[in-house]
Symmetry: C2
Subunit: 612 residues, 2 copies
């Protein structure tokens, strides 16, 4: 029996010797496309073996795959048989049902005031008597438009001559104004069409999560979001969490480069798709704002990460930075800058700053907590302008990892659970037969078990008609029986995993409140951000003591506020500057340095409402 893991769906299970990857995937309810019924003919069930050994490809498989694919570990799932523990990446096109990702946040209410201005320029065609260089010609047109001292990006120059001629010497330029009067750093970052249909400048905002990525294409004139796209972070093949990826990248310069390329390739695909759908060219995308946690930020920028994984956990870069798109391989206008919002600390990154911007936290009166729940949960408390942030290692339980029947929020995942005495009802994503349990479902089921006293306030599981003893002596609660398959259950161990996560989060809230000199009950507002936070039941979170017991109307769930913040920073240079100013003001509290950390963590583990 081998352990097989399917990524990015996050399903893991055992596979008897001799079984194919497709058979194993079916048993684990990973829906791999398959048209020919496993005969090795249709070639639709391509998967990539990320680690571990499988049977060598036969002649038919080699025919269905390109040499490059074979070299990259691609196989037909219906033909490859594991020879040991194997980790398999299922590419999106081989999945029958798309995963649920969250890209929508607050609607934007901001006046577009981007980092560049659009200028329509008319140049003078050169003659043999007046052999103006094309660059001189552009400079003179800029001077006529009032811009006397302006840099022209090198990549713009590299494309200028043919563009001027096809556009008959009328072009539209994207120009970054001086950063401050007299700085003489105004710069032409893109030159587009000026005749016929003049270029409509767009911008790209991306929130790169450890697991999921949300990309937005924005019209920089109207401020309208033209399209959005959710995708999985392909780096997941190198590790579920950022620590695993830091070590993967630290192995060699090649691995670090590979992690970056994987991500940028996926972003370029997304940009291509978004642009196609909106009827614009990637070359018309003249600005980008990208946010992510500190490790993801560093990996994306090819900055060194090893020091992030070792005490004192120091980022290479904290300040906001503008990097040329071409330096990152990002397929937008090559002279465009990519703006990265500042990081706060090694485990509080630019996505946190974006969340603060997206929720408007810094402008709120009173005492407000903003929280983004995930593998790492970052939160920020604003007490009348005094702001502090912490990061809690809440672990991957919400992503379905380390939970026996855990899975990501894909169709068939149990997302809501109600238990009323012995009456159990479960709701799955897409209303499909249940195949596992996702984070919001896990939170619900444990809360329901707690409410019905099946789990006590220390987290111990008690007797109940649906609780049974496994052969290994572990208690488990049966959520759903399945014909011909093992039941979907929540075990004592699963409850403990969730308890660990919730303790870390609750401790974070407490430390922030104490450090601000307020009691948890004095919090006026709790803003829950992030994809996961959108789907959780606040009542459940309070029931198990993950969040403080405040009146329910004080909570709001705002979706992907980091993505919203990224779009705000993209559309509005004043907001971008505000984000930098706020980031500089935030006090970072290192939880590991809090006195009596372990004692406080145990206190925070109590599974009850109003623990403090």
């Amino acid at each position: 029996m081998y352990v097989i893991e399917f990524e990015p769906v996050g399903r893991r299970g055992v596979c008897p010797e001799g079984e194919t990857l497709l058979e194993c995937a079916r048993r684990l309810d990973v829906d791999i496309v398959n048209v020919c019924g496993g005969a090795g003919v249709c070639g639709r069930c391509k998967v990539q073996v990320v680690s571990g050994a499988v049977s060598p490809p036969d002649a038919g498989e080699k025919e269905a795959l390109t040499d490059r694919e074979v070299a990259d570990g691609y196989r037909l799932a219906c033909m490859a048989r594991p020879l040991g523990n194997v980790k398999v990446h299922v590419p999106p096109e081989s999945l029958t049902a798309p995963q649920r990702t969250q890209v929508e946040g607050l609607e934007l209410a901001v006046k577009p005031d981007p980092s560049f201005q659009s200028m329509d320029l008319e140049l003078t065609p050169p003659t043999i008597e007046a052999q103006h260089a094309d660059e001189t010609n552009l400079r003179e047109a800029l001077a006529r438009a009032g811009l006397d001292d302006c840099r022209i990006d090198f990549a713009v120059l590299q494309r200028l001559s043919p563009r001027l001629r096809t556009e008959k010497w009328r072009v539209r330029a994207a120009v970054r104004p001086e950063s401050r009067p007299g700085a003489s750093d105004a710069e032409v970052v893109a030159v587009g069409a000026g005749t016929g249909l003049p270029t409509r400048w767009c911008g790209l905002a991306v929130d790169i999560g450890t697991t999921k990525v949300a990309a937005y294409l924005v019209d920089m004139q109207s401020g309208r979001t033209l399209g959005s796209k959710g995708l999985m972070n392909p780096q997941i093949a190198y590790g579920e969490d950022v620590v695993a990826r830091i070590y993967a990248a630290g192995k060699s310069a090649e691995s670090a480069a590979k992690l970056q390329t994987l991500l940028v390739d996926a972003l370029n695909d997304a940009v291509g798709g978004l642009c196609d759908a909106a009827g614009v060219s990637p070359g018309d995308v003249a600005d980008a704002v990208i946010v992510g946690n500190t490790a993801i930020h560093h990996l994306f920028l090819k900055l060194p990460v090893l020091q992030l994984g070792l005490a004192p956990y120091v980022p290479a870069l904290r300040s906001a930075i503008d990097v040329k798109a071409r330096d990152l391989g990002l397929g937008i206008a090559p002279g465009a800058y990519v703006h990265l919002l500042p990081n706060i600390a090694g485990y509080v990154g630019a996505d946190h700053v974006a969340m603060i911007l997206g929720t408007g936290l810094a402008e709120k009166d009173g005492v407000t907590l903003a929280i983004d729940i995930g593998t790492n949960t970052e939160m920020c408390l604003n007490r009348r302008g005094e702001m502090a942030s912490v990061s809690c290692a809440s672990g991957p339980a919400f992503e379905g990892a380390h939970i026996k029947h855990g899975m990501r929020a894909a169709p068939g995942a149990i997302e809501h659970v109600r238990l009323d005495g012995e009456r159990l009802s479960v709701q799955t994503i897409g209303g499909l037969p249940p195949t596992g349990i996702c984070g919001s479902g896990l939170l619900d089921v444990v809360a329901q078990l707690r409410k019905n006293d099946v789990v006590d306030s220390t987290g111990r599981m008690r007797q109940h008609p649906l609780v049974r003893l496994r052969e290994d002596g572990m208690k488990e609660f049966v959520l759903a029986g399945r014909a011909g398959k093992d039941d979907i259950t929540i075990s004592q161990k699963d409850v403990r995993e969730l308890q660990l996560a919730k303790s870390a989060i609750r401790l974070g809230v407490r430390v922030l409140a104490e450090s601000a000199g307020v009691h948890e009950t004095e919090i006026d507002e709790v803003v829950i951000a992030g994809a996961f936070g959108t789907f959780i039941d606040v009542e459940s979170a309070i029931t198990i003591g993950m969040l403080p017991d405040l009146p329910r109307e004080k909570f709001s769930q705002v979706g992907n506020a980091a993505g919203t913040g990224a779009r705000l920073a993209l559309l509005s240079l004043p907001r971008r500057r505000e984000a930098a100013a706020v980031a500089a003001r935030i006090r970072y509290i290192e939880l590991a340095a809090v006195p009596d950390f372990n004692l406080k963590l145990i206190e925070a583990s109590a599974m009850k409402e109003g623990a403090y």
Copy 2:
């Protein structure tokens, strides 16, 4: 019989069917290394087939070559047999004798005042209580050293974290100061070792000619040239002259990229060799100045060139530019800038500006002519501060092309000739048996023929014991007989080729003089720059009317002044700025737009002293 061309040595000849490339090369005196005597065993006679078909590689050849080499057209000269007309590139390592290239110019007399300053910085190691980001840490050290507002290059950031730790938080930084007070564009372009042996910052100056490249490694503190290296421009495989290369690059984005990569790869090899010899690392090279003619400048920068080949022959870029080394793939410190001096026009480039800087032309009193003779001959006349330049299409005769026994200045080339009645003496490079005639030899022999009245003032060849009639009716002068091989001769056609070249040059001198309102005889000084100019006999040039008949002491031959100018611009920011100011001041005269151009060209063709 097939026509075989060997590059970059510039030898061409016919090859009977069935002969190997090695046999053909031997007959043409191209000295390809060969240890095993043509048995296909030693693998030393690797050549690259650039165009045309040869016999397919056999098993032995495939063993001697890598797959990559085979794919790139590499073959063993001793095994490959032409199947048609073939162009062959002989890589330097397959040539027994190095070619003569010219890298030395005037000695430098300049106080080093480079574009960056070296700063020794001591940073504060971070702790868990003070988790300074590495970039913040560097910024604070810069602030302590008086630099409050400073950009840090992105590539520097990408390498900073491990460097700080291996150097124990003491580093030496190369910092470009603000371009003017208040510009806030100071920038850290490299961070080197600060402990043990601190980094010695170096600079790179390169003069890229159409045929030859001269590279210099300079110590930026002492100003000493640590090493110099001459190499062939590998783009020659894509065309002898710039026009051929413009069309080759214009074919597709891939060809343009290939032309750039070829050149950069060769430069990187040269940089590696120079650094090795000087005991420094390419990462310690923190600045570079590169010059070349406009087409080479554009090809190197991957700027579009098609518009250079079409009227009105407009450069994409005329101004000086600083480009990040990484944007060009140049293997020096990746945050370093590469400075390109300004161009003047489509056919008067940055190398001309460098020559003016290197000869000090702009500072000279009186009337001075500076001239760089080559495939294109550029010259500049300074009449008491008023400066004008022209470019003359002098053609490739001086490089040995289009001349029956022409060759480049390689060992065995006839470089000097004296004819005294019937007594003929020839001198070859290296004193080897003659294998052909190079540019200075061609100039000499035609001048000697003219002096002895074998060629009349219209360029017609007369009777002489050494003049004979070929089968095709063409007259030719026998320079050297060779046992078992055809004689080395100069034909009437060869004389006409040289006459074309000299007419273009002399017309340029005349147009400049007329435009400055002086007579040629009023020129106070003639500075002959360039590799070829070093080796020519001024007397011969005057005899055939290529240069005006001035007292001989008014001429000086200064070697590679463009290379000297590049080094001056590298070492001294004031000189670099002076070059830009001079370039902006120079009036460019387009010869094609001169009234009665053809008539004047015919007048300039007279083969006699003092024609005007």
